[in-house]
Symmetry: C2
């Protein structure tokens, strides 16, 4: 499937997300015109044909994989997958697992995406736990528009063994060096202190594993404040910790927006001040806009899987499709597999 | 010591914090003039006399407990305590453990405070792990100036057993109902999802323990975004999680300040906008100013211990002294002990 001449094939869950099927289909149409990527739209064939007919697209680069129904954003993942094996996400994921495409994109339920991946897509050898990575901009981005920081895992796991955290570091390293084009991305271990002895047994052991790996540019433990300040290109942590940190940032952002709205109504002077700042706030919004960087990679499987934000429009899903294709083309998963294999070799038979 | 007529006695680590001994001594002087609290300043007698002589104070309400040396903010806590048993923090903590005062305040090293407490102050019966609580303002504060939210633990523990989390909830409940004057404070369990089944074995079991406790106003699991939005008056979590969340908020605040500084220099229009907003930003700063709420309580010991911020001035330390006295007077620790005792009774011999 992935020989040099064949185009990269990306499966798109056409029924997943708040704006499905309209926005995923518009995204596919747009990408079909501007790239060589071959897109497989998975979903209700009638709805897909109808929407596709309304937008300009390159028909030769779009095919349809029929599915019946979809998994809603608020359904319980396990129950929904069991009850609806023919839903778009399940059909798409089985096709990915069977090697019928090189990568997958969905803007649907995160929980269902993680579960369906585990069920139908082979994991990389040596990897027992997948990681969902949050991708976010940092101040570093001023010098490299492709540069983003990764925090992983943010919710695919709860607690992790030291080895899982090392594998997350390999995943982040591979993704950051290929997608953000940072040659030796810095890696930090999220902890409650910078000393190597902090954070309990698992983190102490993980710290040592990371130190012992010359492939990785490990800068040591990082703390919560280092996440938004972008101290490391890749920050690894167990899912419970990453999930809380990620949502904490979302909540803080929401608090600031609430305060802005309040201040706008409160006084004419503040209103004027906010208006004068509006171009700056817009620029800030552009810099931090998730639609720019195409979503969160779910790593640890043999093929790239990208979770686009539920609220994604065509532009964000289009970027996710391009990132998924880039990850497949540039061998992100092969790179992770190489690291995992060498680690197994090294620890199985120490010289 | 704590009979109804005797004044509350509060030990103050006169040598702890970035601005010691000047600011702790000024705080003691101020409190001696405005309240009935009896203050025991622990530190170098010569330095204390010299600073006290320079400020107006009520001499009858201030006594000196001599100590030699102090533990610096950047010393390794365990090593420093072992090497300097006569440092101000150690002497003060032993005095608290011996019942020579009702509460203690220090603006010195957090790590040293936690360790010294464990070493010299008896824990409440049934409590095995202490919790350091971060106190922060929420939007609720508009209607009740005393109202703050608590996040605990933020660093005294790493991982916790379900029972420890229940005990943290008792601690938060007691502190919030006495100090913030919220009659039935809402309690949330920090997790990666709202469903009772989320977060792994420990959190699932803790969720059940919290549900089974009619004393507590448990509102279920809360997520990271609920912390800054103030969804619960008390949020309980293991220390690793709370520490990362707390520092994440600090880092986000710092990022916003950096952006403000950058915008100020960037364009005349943005500069003007920020100037027009300055009274709003000042009000925001007032609302979130740590010097208002007197520091973070370290809970689980038989007497209240308050950690004031390292950068505290006299006003912040003075507030910490008043909060410590209030916690002692209103029986926060007795309340926690009652809850712990009843829980033991209930679970030891279920009817």
């Amino acid at each position: 499937m992935t020989n040099v001449t064949a185009p990269i094939r990306v499966l798109v869950d056409a029924m997943g997300g708040d704006n499905a099927p309209l926005e995923p289909i518009r995204a596919a149409a747009e990408v079909s015109k501007s790239t060589q990527i071959h897109i497989v739209l998975c979903g209700d064939p009638a709805a897909i044909s109808r929407e596709l007919a309304a937008v300009e697209h390159v028909a030769a680069r779009i095919e349809v994989l029929p599915a019946t129904g979809f998994i809603g954003m608020h359904e319980k993942p396990r129950e929904a997958i069991a009850a609806k094996p023919d839903a778009s996400l399940c059909v798409a994921m089985r096709a990915l697992g069977d090697g019928k495409a090189d990568a997958l994109v969905s803007a649907g339920s995160t929980g269902a995406l993680v579960l369906a991946s585990s069920q139908w897509v082979p994991r990389i050898e040596g990897v027992e736990r997948a990681a969902l990575a949050a991708v976010y901009p940092t101040q570093q981005r001023a010098n490299n528009r492709d540069r983003f920081a990764l925090l992983l895992d943010v919710g695919a796991t709860v607690h992790c063994r030291p080895k899982d955290l090392l594998l997350f570091a390999y995943m982040g390293h591979a993704y950051a060096s290929r997608i953000s084009k940072v040659e030796r991305p810095t890696i930090g271990l999220l902890n409650m202190g910078t000393e190597a002895t902090k954070g309990g047994e698992t983190l102490v052991a993980a710290h040592q594993l990371l130190l012992d790996e010359p492939r990785l540019n490990f800068i040591g433990n990082v703390e919560g404040n280092d996440i938004p300040l972008g101290k490391a290109d890749v920050i690894v942590c167990e899912g419970l910790l990453g999930n809380v940190a990620l949502k904490m940032a979302e909540g803080t952002g929401e608090l600031f927006r609430n305060l802005g709205t309040w201040a706008f109504k409160q006084s004419l002077m503040w209103k004027l001040g906010l208006l004068l700042l509006s171009s700056g706030l817009r620029r800030l919004k552009d810099l931090t806009d998730y639609s720019e960087y195409g979503g969160a990679p779910l790593l640890g499987f043999t093929r790239p899987i990208i979770k686009a934000h539920g609220r994604s429009g065509a532009r964000a899903i289009g970027n996710a499709i391009k990132v998924a294709a880039k990850a497949a083309r540039d061998g992100v998963c092969t790179d992770i597999a190489d690291c995992a294999r060498e680690f197994e070799k090294r620890t199985a038979a120490p010289s």
